[in-house]
Amino acid sequence: MILNAYAVLDGFLAILRLGLGLLVIFLALATWRARRRRGDEVVASKREERGTLLFLAAFALVGLAIVSWPVFYLLLQSYIPEWPGVMCIYGVTQIGAGSVGTARFLPDLLRSMQLLKPTLVFVGGAWLILHLLNGRTATAPLAGRALLALLAVGVLATGDAVAELAYLLVPKKEEFVTAGCCTQAFDGAERFSRFLPHALVEEPYRHWLNLAYFWLNGGMVVALFAALRLGWMRKWLALLAALLAATIVLNLVFLVETAAPALLHLPLHHCPYDLLPEVPESTVTIGLFVLGSFAVGWACVAAWLGRHRETETLVPPLVAKLLSIGLFGYLGSLVMMALELALARAR
């Protein structure tokens, strides 16, 4: 175990999340069972108290999940000096690869956490949206869906916390990086972009990727603006959801193929992890994109999963609010990225 300030903070957050996650699972299952039973006033009062406790625990859990996301990357960043062959977070994620001891689980644990954390934040937000809508109705018609989302939050948070605690506790001195750091993984011909058409990612054609990035994200901004100005419809949301999926994929490719080399001033180096220490403001750009895409996703959740006779008047203003946040995120990230790239080229 490597003990530093970030490891202590991360461990503390993971223990809190584990406790709250288990509590949320237990209370959500208990509430689910209690919903099926009919009872007198005492039972109803108990159910209400349990509901309040469940809400508070889940709210704290979602808050902790959001905080733990950047702390996790700061922890990985703080581990870099521990190994001579590691120059960025990517290298840390490779520690333990090829080992025969317990360290062999480290890369898989990190991979699962890198997927679990954004999923947890998104599902947590989706639960909050459903809870907000449900709370404004007279007969709580969305309680079942909100409870299911909450159960998912509890399970994901518990899994994430267990993985994080395991990562912290597994000894990391056993195996060093053998294949070099990010230069080998992101700059070689084997990187994930090999699955994409060469006309998009190969150096002479990269302007097509840049054009696609600005057109697609710009298109998303225009679509969000139009949705807000003209009023939203379910078909419109389906288009936004399709655009959302396309922008997530494209922005990932753009980050690796264009943004990282340009912002790092290293034309052949494609490691996005290097941006955290070298160009820290780019994390705000990425954060704005995550905020924008999550907000659009939550708007879809509100419109599709929050549908009920009682919520007919409640859903449109909530969706509009979420789409406004989405517009802010997408526009902010697009403008910041354009400025950063222009400044990097001018230097």
């Binding site: 120059m87 070298e278 910041m336």
Partner: protein, 141 residues
Amino acid sequence: MKRIAIAAGIVSMLALPFLGNWLRRIPEARCALDGGALVTSYRVRLADAQGQERDFCCIRCAQLWLERREQPARAIWVADETSGVMIEAERAHFVRSLVVTTPTTGNRIHAFRDLADAERHAEKCRGTILTGGDRPFAIRE
């Protein structure tokens, strides 16, 4: 109040790239391939087809750079591992040994000005003196 907060958020969002760029206005010398630190004894310098000079942290990084460029380098210099002095790559003696010069790339090729130094390193660190096509930059030189 809400509008002021939104305006402040937008202004700081727009100012951040300028601030970051200004703080990094003095570029530090680092490897042109991966941004790693330069060590005097292992560095490599090459002049590309346009005549622009670039520094690399090790021979491996310079090789990777050249592999991804269509045009060959105009000139290549490597640091003599014993003295740190830059010499033309074609005059250097290269040894591949068990000693890794740069852990981040796993480079194990060492450059020496004097054959005696190269032989001493090869003997001490179980290395092989590279000749002909095995020499780094052999094709591109």
